[in-house]
Amino acid sequence: LGELQNLDKLEDLTALKQQTKLQIATPIANLSATSQLRVTVGNTAHTFTLGSHSSSIKNYSDLAELMNSGVIRTDVAVNGKNLTFSDLGLLAGGNATSLVISSAFLGNSDTYSELTAGELSGTSGLLIPGHTDFAGLQVLTKEGVHLAGTPLSQTQIQSLISSANGFSEGAKYTASHLASGEVTSYLGAEVSRLTTRGDYTSAISSLAKSSTIDSNIAIGAMPIPTARAKMAAPLKIETATGLSLNYEASQGMMAGQISAALNDKISQYGINASAYNFVELYEIPSETVQFDLKGDNFTPARINMDMSTGNIQALVNQINTYSESTGIFASRSASNALVLEHRGGNDINIEAVSISGSGSIKVRQLDQYGEVINSPQNTASPAPEISTGKYAILGGQIQLTSPSDFELSTNDVDISVVQSEFASGFIKRAFDPDNSSTSYSFKTLKHADSAAIGAAGLASVAASSSYKFEIKGDNSNSSLVANIAGLNSEDLNGQIVAKKLASELRQNSVQAGIYGNTFSFADGFPSNGDTLEFRLGDQTYRATLNDVPSYVIEDSNVKIDGITYSQSEALKQIVASSNFTISGPEDNRIRVGFTEASGGFKLYAVANDGVISGHSLRLTSNNSSSNLNAFHFDNTSSAFIQGDEFDTTQAVNQVIARLNVGGTTTDITFDNGVVTPLTANGVTISLEQGSSVNTGFLKISIPNSVSDQDIRLSATANSANFGINTASTQLTLTEGGFNLSEYGSDRIQVSGSVESLASETISIDGLSGEDLIIISTGNIRPSILGAATSSTHNLNPREISAQVTSDDGRTVVLKDTKTGDYLGSRTLSSTNNFQFRGFDWQFDGIGNKNDEFLLSTSGNRQDDASNLVRFNRLASLSETSGKGGYSEIYSNLVTDTGFKSREAEQRLETTQAIHDVALDRKSEFSGVDLDTEAARLLEQQQAYQALAKVLSTAKELVDTLLRSF
């Protein structure tokens, strides 16, 4: 596709899919009030009658605007609602002659259905099918280092890696630095490639078996086996490009060591291996617990803790005092549970267990996201546990990840490889054992997924992204699901996506709130700054009353701001003016205010949208009695938890929910319209009337008198039809997305999916001026979006080490010295040199294999005459850089000037001669030659004298004549 030169930063390079479009062209004059636009979406034809709007339609841009804004809706309602274009995932554009309708359908009918036909006023439209195939964007350096994309096959390598495509002569393909996982580093730059579906992954244990088949956990009576379990047969790895490898671990190797060894072998195939080992010890008994903990250490770390006080943090702290030697870190995951992490993925051994009573500790392995590994060992019933005299060998897991599909097998038994939406997907998931939570953030592409209409009105693109999030909760037969779609422009923001998903998930679960007692003005109104502290699950919120106006009681009236009110009116005024500020882990999580009730007002506090965990919203024990009194709370006040409405005519007898009050669990049964029991541990259970006949909802009323207010309503396998949906997790919105924290010893499972007009997005940051080549290997001609920033340096900071790698000494591999990353390789020419990165690498002789040369850059050279050398070099022209040659230039300048000077002098002489001749000629006319003038004067004198003589003679003659008379 092209070359990006001197690249430093590449932001969201994306290839866009093409949406299906319907183009209709019929004379605008033909449209009337009865004209209908008919579109078939999925298998349903939807009709939009123009009606009175037809008169305002001057061109198809007007019609498009009416359709997009939802002014014109379907004639027939679907599920009680007349649908808009937006509901159908359609966007219209138009000009004077044509209407174009784009569909947000991207091949997955979960969110939108496919646009298959359409007509306007009887004129059928032309359907232009969309293309949703992967464009297959590949980003490589000019030396053939594949940074992002999918591994290339040998055929692709041979056809694409060529100087004709901009690669260097001698470029060699390698996938060793191919971005896989969240972020890959190359030359210190962060390279990431995200796809909507995510990378292909497979999790195996060190026994070369799928983690879901055998997660490598061994529990038994001491003594512990002397030899470690080993993979029974080699692991076979086959790539989609036809490469294959067999790997067999050595005796004693654990997951971390196997993953490191695998990486050495398979990174060149574009597959990355990593290892992790998370183990949860849960339901730790309230007894004295002792065990030997072994990780990297040989001498066991003896753990000894009296758990009778339930101080799980003390046990965590004791384990962490040995972390330096064991390599194992502990974190609290519940009041009687902790998570052990052996960083690097090697085994965790728990040996010589001793528990003072007859108790035992349950053990389970977690994956890298904190979910229980779904292996037979972890899901066995009863759950695996360790007790006095036992040991547990808990193996880590190896995660293999690749942007491209691959196959794994051992002994010809295939190991599952799946695409994971959380591995380089648009949903980022990270387990934080220290906070016993998992964070989620969502990638959005505003430039790709916003609705857009081209300047000419025709090239319309419908907002096509959708985000789905599912929590497998307390109901084993149902999930909490949120699905948002059609987000546009500013709403295409990760935080907003998280907020909308959280809101929908909460709305699909149960509602919780608390009410104070009804009070009148005479009962008193709390003052500014009065506070109440609430607890929602594990979270604490504090509400502070503000803006209570000043008031003066005058007999039976009340004066506020100089206006006199009756007491009841005054209370309304005060309530209207006052408000609460809430502080807590999440903004706007709870809403607190006063609501009007018979005889006055009462305080309410509700969890916005709902509570996924099914917890009650309760007052904490930190509230003072004076504050409780001020807000009119006493033992008769009550909190509530309630489910959604359901059909109360269901003829079943099932346990529809489970109520936990202070550790005591009560099953709530629905039997032909009746729920039982009606009370449990002081809590009232009722079936309330719904908004229509034969509907109702389950309500739990919790009087303030109940001593343990930590109450939770949870779903059962039968809850789906009874408006109860919960999961043992607490969702907290954060700046980047949301966190899901585990509640108790239950662990949830989540999944997600994303649709986007961009099937993949590639970002690179901090490459410091490398040239990259962009290739598309997909089946469609892609439209590319993205932003690139270049970077140039006067002194290239890249230091290069060149290592001779062949026995004949002629092959040299060049690496970035700082990072050790591969830059390229060259073969020595017949003159023992090669060109690389603008340098002529000239070798004196032939190196031995493994000889290494270092190209250093230093801005700190002094006293080495290097400037003189550079000046000298400047005298002659460099053929490689094209710089220099001043000596020749100066010489030419002197010669040229000399010639011109001589030419000017000659011209001066010539001109001078002409000037002289001209002066001579002028002088000829205007000048005076004294000799000539003297001669002429003599002539004149002589003539004069002659004439005088004539005159004299004549006079004499006349005189003579006269005298003769």
Binding site: M254, D296, A865, S887, S923
Partner: protein, 421 residues
């Protein structure tokens, strides 16, 4: 054509002026001996002169560089001489101390001396020339290219590139060394090594009882022996030799997470030739049996163990009490002595490089002096006037001038007016 008298006088005046200027220039050249080069007339000479001037300037700088580098290399040579002397003393210490009857106090004295020698090498490694430039810092410009950590480990923080200075076109001579090349790149029989680590090894070797690297007969009181192997941490490599009456057999293996079963398997794979069988007891303990009544353990080396100085323990099979400790054989005097010799030769080679560089600088200086003389001649050829030609031309111009003046005088001395009246 007839011209005016004034014009006639003007013409002649200009002619005389031009002749005077030419004569003045020629007389000036004759007086100074320098040619009066005009760009319009001598542009080739001017271009040549410019190039020659540049060349002269460059050559003078090369000569200055040569002088400077010779001075620096002399300092470097002195430093290398000191280094060789230190190594000679180190070898003496090594030989004197390689004696297993030395008392601990005597060993301590050798250790003290070895530490002082290390300090002296460190001091030399950070030595500077008279301008304050480091002799072994390379191009880095760091005044102290070597740093010593609290644990005595010496690291190089200078540049791997030696500083070079141009002494002629195409010839650069090193002005200093990269410390990495001198002190951390000595070639030994087992690859390259650091001189500082060599001294550390000598110091460590002096701390170890020589006799502790070989066990006594493990089977002297029982027909099997139990040894306890060290903590591998996540992974480590181990090798040792088991000596029986039938001969020595060496074993080595990579051990992961203290699972020595692989090592036992390795020993048992050679039972047919060694006569030794092993059983892994767990807890890093191995039971050894041999067909021979004598079994000794030696040449124990390891890499990557949690404790780099860890040793093997021989346990009482019944009580598991430690009977004997076998130290690592990584430090042996033979190896150290060889490496000291190698380091000495390394320094000698580098010193030879200093001499060679100095000689090249000297040669370059002489060559540049010759070039400078030639250049001066060439410049003189261009700049100096040809006196004979100048004088001849002066004579010619003088004659021309006199003839012209005489003619002018003759012409202008008589006028028609003289004949009038």
């Amino acid at each position: 054509m007839t011209i005016g008298t004034t014009r006639f006088f003007q013409n002649n005046s200009e002619l005389f002026s031009r002749l005077n200027e030419d004569l003045k220039s020629l007389q000036s050249q004759a007086g100074s001996g320098k040619a009066d080069l005009k760009l319009s007339e001598n542009f080739r000479d001017v271009a040549k002169l410019s190039a020659a001037d540049e060349m002269r300037s460059q050559t003078k700088q090369f000569i200055a560089n040569s002088g400077r580098v010779q001075t620096d290399l002399e300092t470097l040579d002195l430093a290398m001489d000191r280094l060789q002397n230190v190594l000679i003393r180190l070898q003496e210490v090594s030989v004197e101390s390689s004696n297993d009857v030395l008392l601990p106090e005597e060993r301590q004295r050798f250790i003290s001396e070895a530490k002082m020698l290390k300090d002296e090498i460190f001091e030399i490694a950070n030595q500077s020339d008279s301008f304050g430039n480091s002799l072994f810092g390379g191009v880095s410009g760091k005044s102290l290219p070597f740093e010593m950590a609290g644990n005595g480990k010496v690291s190089f923080v200078g540049s791997a590139m030696a500083k070079q200075i141009s002494v002629s076109n195409g010839l650069s001579v090193m002005q200093n060394f990269s410390g990495a090349d001198i002190f951390q790149n000595a070639e030994g029989p087992n690859g390259r090594f650091s001189v500082f680590e060599l001294v550390d090894d000598l110091i460590n070797s002096l701390s170890v009882d020589l006799s502790s690297t070989v066990s006594t007969n493990l089977l002297k009181s029982a027909n099997s022996a139990v040894i306890e192997l060290p903590d591998t941490g996540p992974d480590a490599e181990i090798s040792l030799t088991l000596a029986t009456a039938a001969g020595d057999t060496s074993f080595s293996a990579s051990i992961y997470g203290n699972d020595y079963s692989a090592f036992v398997t390795h020993i048992n794979s050679k039972t047919a030739t060694s006569g030794i069988t092993a059983t892994y007891l767990g807890g890093n303990r191995v039971s050894l049996q041999a067909t021979s009544s004598e079994l000794k353990l030696t040449n124990f080396t390891q890499n990557g163990m949690t404790d780099p100085n860890s040793s093997l323990k021989v346990l009482d099979p019944n009580t598991s009490a430690t009977v004997e400790t076998v130290a690592q054989n990584k430090i042996n005097f033979g190896d150290i002595s060889v490496r000291i010799t190698d380091a000495f030769e390394h320094f000698a080679t580098k010193r030879a490089e200093v001499s060679a560089a100095s000689r090249r600088a000297q040669d370059a200086e002489e060559a540049n002096m010759d070039i400078l003389v030639g250049l001066e001649e060439d410049i003189a050829d261009i700049e100096d006037a040809d006196l004979a030609a100048v004088l001849t031309r002066i004579e010619m111009l003088m004659t021309q001038k006199e003839a012209a003046q005489a003619t002018f005088t003759r012409i202008t001395s008589k006028s028609l007016f003289d004949f009038l009246g």
